[in-house]
Amino acid sequence: MTRLFLPDTAPVEAAVRGLALAHPDLLHLHQDPLYVTARDRDPRRRVGLLSGGGSGHEPLHTGFVGRGMLDASVPGRVFASPHNRQVYEASRAVAGEDGVLHIVKNYTGDRINFGIAAERLRADGIRVRRVLVDDDLATEDETTATGRRGTGATVIVEKLLGGAGDTGLGLDELADLGTEIAAASRSVAVASRAHTSPAQGGRAFELGDDELEYGVGIHGERAARTVARPPLEELVDRMARQVLDGLPRRPDDVLLLVGGLGATTLLELYAVHDRVRHFLDAQSVRVAGQLVGTFVPALDMSGFSLTLTTPGERWLDWWHAPARTPAFPVTQPLAGTEPTR
């Protein structure tokens, strides 16, 4: 029995149904197999954009389905990859005239299940390519062959590709662009309290009041290091410096995501944001766009992540392009409508 307020059977199905019922104008729910598609799509879009992965990271990805972002999202069980059949059926449902692009976070299960779906789509004659998001610096030094995990940058990749897709770019252009965005993004995250274990229901691991896990991912795995908890300013400066130094080249301006890990309040996240901005100002790095809130959590972990992306040409246009989804903040009116004053 979990301590979370979830039904004992089919919790993900219930939550996805509830989300779709909350946004009947935006989302179309498919129950067997489970996936969600957008009701509205820019007519210029030639490639279906699809993402997915384990549940527990809400609003990712289902909250970003809609005009200007994803055409489909495929949720797995909590922290588990979706089945290839879900990915396959959802891809067939949203493939455009130039095919479908899979946005995949770098985890073995997701790579394999999306990969199998891609092979099936190719066998059907549907063009498919993959963007692999791998932004987490905490997993960069490991000697394993698995590489950096995919975390917060996924939402930045999804927004930029959505904006670019709505200008009519083709599959290869979008896949290459997505790969560039992922390559220009780095993240790091800390936690002061573990999430609720989806299997056992209790705290997934224990931490002292004066301790922090430095370098957590989003599946509740412990970080490589437990550190003494420093004052917030010191902690944020250390994280921001690490992410800035981790970028492939030092930027003049950045896209910034301050992301909650599930149980962190906006009061805290805005305070973190204030300090990150102070740090970046001092480094003469301009923030060209920012997002503060809970977008890619690890269930109900107490903690936060910092993500920076060095924008390329036209990326800021796509960042600011209108999007209408359950969870991406609306910044501008939809094309063709006038703002109300």
Partner: protein, 213 residues
């Protein structure tokens, strides 16, 4: 030559039932213990789904069962192999030609998805020797022998991919269950296509697999 592919799959299903306990025991050493269940259950479902369907459609039916309904990672990967075999058989007059192309394409798809190389201790270690044997013009019995010895050689390999990578040396001494399971497909094929050829009996094979080759 022509082949009854329904019979190949039902022979494989029967083989998987007999091998179930061995495959489970092997997977308990290195994985989560469900490989025997997944293979046996998947092939049982294939037999049911085949019903009275023609032999020509057999591998296409098997592909959709394994891709859609079998859990774990190895089940859908075997589904990919079936998908490519089905496609190649549909485009070939000759069964040998179909298997040569299908196994090569299936192996390529599995490697694209799983990113495993020969020597990583996965099903690729049975498939790659089978592909090589077919390419070299071996008959099905020779192909089965190549696949089986590839599978048995994994007993001496430390895993780099798949579940077994997490347990390190502890899996040494016993072969990879996925490799053995895939090799049994070629064993079943040889029994149907060349019943008089000399290949080990299933009892001999499974005994060797349990004892670590």
């Amino acid at each position: 030559m022509t082949l009854d592919h329904r019979l190949v799959l039902s022979t494989y299903a029967q083989t998987a039932r007999t091998a179930h306990d061995t495959l489970t025991a092997l997977d308990q050493l290195s994985g989560d213990g469900d490989f025997g269940d997944n293979l046996r259950e998947g092939l049982d479902r294939v037999e049911t789904a085949l019903g009275e369907r023609p032999s020509d459609a057999a591998f296409a039916v098997a592909a959709s069962v394994f891709l859609d309904e079998v859990g774990g990672t190895s089940g859908p990967l075997i589904g990919l192999l079936f998908q490519e075999i089905a496609r190649a058989l549909a485009h070939s007059e000759d069964a040998r030609e179909g298997w040569r192309t299908g196994v090569a394409e299936g192996l390529a798809a599995i490697q694209r998805v799983g990113e495993a190389e020969p020597g990583d201790r996965t099903m690729v270690d049975a498939l790659a020797p089978a592909r090589d044997a077919l390419t070299a013009g071996e008959d099905f019995a020779g192909t089965a022998r190549a696949a089986l010895s590839g599978a048995q050689a994994t007993a001496g390999i430390r895993a780099r991919r798949g579940r077994a990578a997490y347990v390190g040396d502890r899996a040494l001494g016993a072969p990879d269950p996925g490799a053995v399971g895939v090799a049994l497909l070629f064993w079943s094929l040889a029994r149907v296509a060349e019943p008089d050829a000399a290949v080990d009996t299933l009892e001999e094979l499974l005994g060797r697999a349990r004892d670590g080759g």
